[in-house]
Symmetry: D2
Subunit: 328 residues, 4 copies
């Protein structure tokens, strides 16, 4: 039988994502609603080890819903990968009277959580937050929708220059293993071609596309390139390679980089964060553990953390088809 829950801890870990603050807020507010105490843990698992805790109430999370990043901060903790580190973390939680943890983050965060939960039989519930949308069992992760808007707005700006100068731009977007950001932002920005990690023949496709575009009289083009694209070339080498094939291209490279992780969350991400935060607290109350709270077909769902971690990304074929047709 599960212990009665009276105090919940919440932390953020891994790369930050827009919506993390909104999720923390929802966890805190839901605790307040259900008359539970809530403790914020600073700096992720490292703060857990060091007991860097602060009591949070409904007022503590005023005016954070619209802020990017995470006010609880995040670090990668090597110490938490050791048995001693986790032991210290558990001692800190016991001492503070925390009965369960809500961990907000991605893959690595959940892996750490599962390990810790198994070791100490401690209730852990996860909320998926990463701009890469590469977590299984949830249709969307926190931060993904915001990142897409950031990318599309950036490429809109770049297109002003591309059109004005009849140039070819290669734009690198985030996505080491998953092409979701590249594929969606590429369609959204009206890119002529999109290179993603899930496809190996990307460069040939691209050269073919460029040739066709040129023949049809297009004078400027945007190619969106996921950072994990598989040509074996980095984006600058790719630019050189295209130029070698056809010297008439006036090519520029833009690496969007870290702006993709920040910014005020979109309405979608704020609402999603609110749903998942409430769902996480209710899962804890219901005695669930080692689960992630996700969204599937617009419903809040509960998924084993192991499932969330294990999956393998695969390209959305329908989206790839739409990209091909609309970039004619």
């Amino acid at each position: 039988m599960s212990k009665k829950i009276t105090k919940i801890g919440v932390l953020t870990s891994g790369g930050d994502a827009p919506g993390m603050n909104a999720a923390i807020r929802a966890v805190v507010r839901a605790c307040s609603y259900y008359h539970l105490e809530c403790v914020g843990v600073y700096r992720g698992y490292q703060g857990l080890i060091e007991g860097d805790f602060e009591k949070l109430d409904a007022r503590s999370v005023r005016n954070v819903i619209n802020r990017g990043g995470t006010f609880l901060k995040s670090t990668r903790s090597l110490e938490f990968k050791t048995k001693e580190g986790r032991k210290k973390a558990h001692d800190q939680l016991s001492e503070a009277g925390v009965d369960a943890l809500v961990v907000i983050g991605g893959d690595g965060t959940f892996t750490g959580g599962v390990f810790f939960s198994d070791e100490f039989n401690f209730p852990i519930v996860g909320i998926p937050a990463t701009i890469d949308n590469d977590i299984h069992g949830t249709d969307y992760t926190l931060g993904y929708d915001t990142a897409l808007n950031t990318v599309v707005e950036a490429i809109d700006k770049i297109r002003d220059t591309a059109s004005s100068h009849n140039r070819l731009f290669l734009v690198e977007v985030m996505g080491r293993d998953a092409g979701d950001i590249a594929l969606n932002s590429g369609i959204g920005a009206g890119a002529e071609e999109i290179l993603i990690p899930e496809e190996s023949a990307g460069v040939e496709r691209m050269l073919e596309s460029l040739k066709k575009s040129k023949a049809s009289g297009k004078t400027s083009s945007i190619i969106v390139v996921a950072e994990g694209e598989r040509s074996g070339k980095n984006i600058f080498q790719l630019a050189d390679f295209i130029h070698e094939q056809d010297e008439s291209y006036d090519i520029r490279v833009s690496v969007l980089g870290h702006i993709q992780r920040g910014g005020s969350p979109s309405c979608f991400d704020r609402v999603l964060a609110s749903k998942l935060g409430v769902g996480a607290v209710e899962a804890v109350i219901d005695g669930k553990t080692k689960v992630m709270i996700g969204i599937h077909h617009q419903n809040v769902v509960t998924v084993p953390l192991e499932t969330a971690i294990k999956g393998e990304a695969k390209v959305d074929k329908e989206l790839r088809r739409v990209a091909d047709i609309t970039s004619v």
Copy 2:
């Protein structure tokens, strides 16, 4: 047996919504991909009657994906409500050799389309575009996601003043029959209370909320009010009413109005428009008629236009619950 399709017309009708241009673009590009001709009809059904047509090819729709409004323009046509008007429209289509129509709009657009299709046995396929998200058979309509972001950004600005001055703001957002915009943007903006058309006891709830907020030490508040809210008071009367109950409130009213309809579409709306535009052309090719192309559980679906029109809005209870919990 359905006639072979060689030329498709496309028009926008009803209130404009961000993403309409992206949808037109996708229709045009899909026609190009499938080697069909495409004809743009200006000013909706009125342009149909007047034969205000222009041939569109893949190049015609460059650099429109990021623009609000509709470059094909939109009007409300009284003439199309007459038999003579529709007859003229059909004659124009025959003369121009157009075999099918894709109509982009809402409720009224689809009703007109069904009527016309029945009368002349003319293939019509609809794409749902309205910021109100009040069309049945599709999880999202074009423009809705963008409008939510516009509202949330506006309320973020208003909150700066509300917090600085310890004021109560009533913010009116669009939604005559459906509370979707109010409910989602209210959660997203961290509103203390939300009044929607689907609930009748809104004002009592609100007064109760305000009383609680005050007791808990909150000094500023945002109330989001859908324009179709059912108190029988307009938003200025509502402000007076609250002031009568408790004179200590320093109340301000903001009616967001028409900014909610415009703006560059979000990535979500651009991708959705691309999917629906391609889907509409493929539905025409497949011989479908009197259907709407919608999105359900992330899949493109085909729904009878009659179904899309008939439905009745009902409040998303889970969302209302999340709103109540997170506004503690």
Copy 3:
């Protein structure tokens, strides 16, 4: 001889404006740079009376430069208009050991400051912050540039709808006495006509303009109307009046309202706030009092507060001329 300054108080008063936080930050940082103590006064002159003070150091103002509103909050204080109120305020300052005050605000703020300074021979330095840009002796007030961008972005959205529907929009912007916001945002948004408080023949001009526009084939128009416009009609009555003159206009009204006061400050306002904040502290150190720190011809200048208050707004004739020419 002026007393040696060791502790400076800073407060915001009157309507909030973007850049107030950046100005507070600069005051605090400049105090730190010059090894002075700094005390934040909450809620303007009312907080002065109540002794609602907090010690601020360089770290207290991290991450506020980009936020709208004022974290020190602002209220209008009736009590400060009484001799007793001001006496209490002075007692609080004496008790806290505060030697001088930097007051950030507009007209009313400066008037109160002059009164207080005269009464108690207390050093007061002002920083002009109001979106209306109606303070004399400074080319720009804090918040004005940000408000212009907010207005122009809002009208860009409205124009999407205006163009799509061939409509005439009347857009009300702030400016009770000064037409600066209307004139600049009207030019910036490409408005067809602009009504400002400084001109009395605005409505006749406007009707003339509309007639010409129509003759030239323009199908949609934006009229920007300052709230202090002198026709004696409110904006809804103005819409009715135009409609009476020519029923063919499809007219809509949008009152931008409070969104104009909020939002993250523009780079211009952040830099201006930084300059003025530093200038204010240096003025205090130099023994100046009853002066405003302004910007004139890109230089930081010192202006007697009496001058800043007294002036009368007059329309920028060159700007009016440019508006007339570019709205052809």
Copy 4:
């Protein structure tokens, strides 16, 4: 005696900048106002050579004021550097009956214009447009204010991550010779240190700053680096160099790149473009040639093109001082 002007050509050349479209619009509208014909020249001086002209009237420039880039496009023309090329250009102008040229661009654009004007005694008036603000005789160039806002918004996003992770970010902004963008955006974004081309001891300063910051307990920092910074290291080498000095820094690099050139112009740039465009046409009418229309102390001024080209950038010492004080 100067020839009577009846037809004016307008072109954009060099790197694109937000506000170019607004300037073209103002030139066209002013021509219309003064009953002159206006001819748009596509692709800068290359289009001049090729006679790539289009008649523009007031309606041609509707809905362009809010768009980044230049609809007349821009290229760098090698042919225009040859006598033959310029001869062809002059022949094209004669044939088209164009009496004078308004050229919108930067340094290189003006240099070409002076050469051409001298050679053929052809009236040329320049409008300064470049995000770098490196033209003499004008307080502001078109696009500069917009670029500052773009940079500051991007760094606001990066700071979300920097704060969440206690990291040090090096952010590269444009500015090969001039540090204006770096200095202003660095102050506006609250950067801890700013490296500019006009100063040689930047790296030592920076290391000193970082040491102090660390001692004072700062955990995250932003360093803004102008691309023309003089350490002799690129930004990635700079990051390595800092890491060698103190391995405890968790450093990330972000190169903002081409997003800085695009985007919808700020209200400031739109108004400035309107003033300069009108001023340019009036200068042509007044028989002026080889002059730039600039803005100085808020007045439109006329400056010999030679002066505009020749100057040498020098750092704004007051701004550097403010940066040092507010980054305490």
